[in-house]
Symmetry: C2
């Protein structure tokens, strides 16, 4: 296996054992980027010299932490000192933040090497950047963490930061065939993140393994020195199709069916939680909250640079400024009610099985796809993970989403690890 | 009344009517600053020429919004384009943010003139800045919104942004004898605010009237065009002394007693909500959450500039980095439980009466005082307001705090207006 194909966990282990240098690893990633970036266009900035220098420094010292020497990519709405932070908008061309974001600094302190910034949709919204799906270049990688998903899927880097306000980690993870993990809301510190809609904005990650997601998360919240392993028993799984099930394409319907079969073969029963009446109101509430908050978060950009804001985003902001405060509060109240409902509905289960996306990555680059199957879980503040378990009719990846309980991220990750291990055993049979 | 003594509402009205120019108002405020700043030390930056230019521009156009031509001060942890943002830390000496914070941009769009930046304790924490209490220069103004409270109290500016993570708006409001308003958590957009502890950080304001607090809040959240008035009936008030009542000095005990008497004279009965068993656990949870989150929010500063962080803050960060994630989650769960408890306890009341601070501003400038009587409400995410209703044994201000229901800020403000109106009628009798 080429060094750039290693997981973060394996790379860190080899570096700690002296079997691999950080410089060799970063060099291999940079070579992969040089080869593939003209096609994939995942990056807004690659800090070639800075990353190599940092890698060489790492090679001269004892491990700083569990990510020592491992390159990491950062979505371009998160501040990195010494690199431009462009927010996917011409308004921020050449902007250089003073400080690292909290999450970047914590990763560096654990030994990670920040290799560059990845393409984001405009302000982590819906207007796409330049990235193509590495599995099929005329299809979208999904968004808004487009570059992070594509770079990880294409073995340019083992792990990358993403953010999710609607479906911006899980959808590109599903479309690009990688592991996308959105932790519980507010568990990863957001200092240094450009806000989109503050009530939903969640920092997370894209990687090729669940173990990497677990390491990443534990470095950021604490406890990375403790061992991580799969749940020792089959999890109690419930299926929840959401009110958007009619939007699932055939490959998503099949992905859910085949996952249920596999779980049943492994000894899980998979009962279904019926979508409750009125659940679709959550999606109306989402638009109200999203637009109201985005309009305010981007107030300076709107008033000082309106001409450099895309039409779709301008429509969101115009709507958001017109939303009455009482309507916004009503929408927040509605969402809070469903959070409580879900907490009760999940009481007898460890995890929810639900679609990760509507299907394979759609054709074309003018849209990043629909957030229908991701946004519910962002709003409910629940940790969720997309696992690259299935393929669609064009041989392209189709993820499957698992949703954990509030603030029980470690449990969700160990369940995800159990599923990946068990799934590979089933398919090996 | 000199122009610099006008409230924001009165100043905006006179400007809209052509009875006052923004230039004259800003000039009067600048003159007051020039006269008093050598004693009070409330400002880190006064944008004399920029503010005058902006005022003159305001005078040539039709009103942009309800704060047209009114000068506003901004606590120095909130970004203002064109001014340095120092965070109360030498690490940020000379730092110039690219963009206005959301709240600053929204105020400018309503016509406000940003006159300068006010002194904050280091990163909105506990290590004081240079500001003195304008009522008694060898006493603290309170913190961390020290400069904002002192500047408003001293008639340098009618209204100023503050932020509250523990007690950073209400305490200086009480100590300086002004109105301090901390809205419901997350109601004022935090884009462009330097985070301290994200689960508690709340943007609010200091002013000399409740009407100004109401106008400020409605400009930021929407609905400023609607009329604002006092509640048309006596509010249903309950007294809640908190688990810190033993820390109340005699003047605070008397302030609560005299407020109860006044309310009773106005026809309110004021029953007491008993402090429930275990309520003091909230304060332990606060330290856990505060330190855990501050340590992460300041990760870059900690790793790149440890020598420029004060000893008290370094102790907070060291502790925060050592807090296990499970303990942090446990603390958040504890706080969430009390939020629900309080929501039930308040069901039959409109508002809670509680101390704003332990007493008059303490002697000396080496501490900004105790957050005991403010922090509960920040943690519970409830809107709260300090009203300058009383005096202590040294003739210094003692505020009284009123706490409203979650997301019912407009109601709290109209109750506060009823109290101020009624209190002045009672004292006039």
């Amino acid at each position: 296996m080429a060094a750039n194909e290693l997981s973060a966990v394996d790379a860190a282990r080899q570096i700690a054992e002296g079997a691999l240098s950080s410089e060799a690893l970063v060099t291999a990633c940079l070579a992969r980027i040089a080869e593939r970036e003209p096609s994939v266009s995942a990056w807004t900035h690659v800090g070639v010299e800075a990353a190599l220098n940092e890698a060489r420094q790492r090679d001269t010292v004892r491990p700083l932490g569990p990510l020592h020497g491992v390159p990491v990519a950062v979505k371009d709405v998160i501040d990195v000192r010494g690199m431009p932070t462009g927010m996917g908008s011409p308004i921020y061309d050449g902007f250089q933040p003073l400080a690292d974001a909290s999450c970047v600094s914590l990763l560096r302190a654990a030994g990670a090497v920040i290799i560059g910034k990845t393409v984001t949709a405009e302000f982590a919204g819906i207007t796409p950047g330049s990235t193509c799906n590495p599995h099929c270049l005329n299809r979208t990688p999904g968004g808004s963490s487009s570059g992070s998903a594509a770079a990880v899927a294409d073995n340019m880097v083992p792990i990358a930061f993403g953010t999710q306000t609607g479906g911006s980690i899980l959808r590109p993870a599903s479309y690009c065939g990688v592991v996308g993990f959105k932790p519980t809301y507010n568990s990863i510190n957001r200092a240094g993140l450009k806000f989109a809609a503050e009530s939903f904005d969640t920092i997370g990650q894209l990687s090729r393994t669940v173990e990497d997601a677990a390491l990443f998360w534990r470095v950021l919240v604490g406890g990375a020195e403790q061992p991580f392993d799969a749940m020792p028993r089959p999890p109690r799984v419930a299926l929840f199709r959401t009110h958007y099930w009619h939007r699932a394409k055939v490959e998503t319907v099949e992905a859910i069916a085949s996952t249920v079969s596999r779980l049943e073969a492994l000894g899980c029963s998979v009962p279904e939680i019926t979508v409750p009446q009125g659940f679709e109101r959550l999606s109306h509430a989402r638009k109200t909250i999203n637009d109201y908050e985005r309009a305010r978060a981007l107030s300076w950009e709107w008033h000082a640079h309106r001409g450099r804001i895309s039409e779709p985003l301008a429509a969101v902001i115009s709507h958001g400024l017109a939303v009455p405060y009482d309507q916004y509060v009503g929408a927040k109240t509605e969402v809070a009610r469903w959070r409580q409902w879900f907490s009760r509905a999940m009481a007898d289960y460890d995890v929810i099985l639900t679609p990760a996306a509507d299907g394979e990555a759609p054709d074309g680059l003018e849209s990043t796809g629909s957030s229908a199957f991701q946004e519910t879980w962002t709003m409910l503040h629940l940790p969720s993970i997309s696992l690259p378990l299935c393929k669609g009719p064009n041989g392209l990846p189709v993820g499957v989403q698992f949703v954990g309980k509030f603030d029980r991220d470690a449990e969700l990750l160990s369940i995800a690890q159990w599923i990946m291990k068990s799934a590979s055993e089933v398919s090996a049979v």
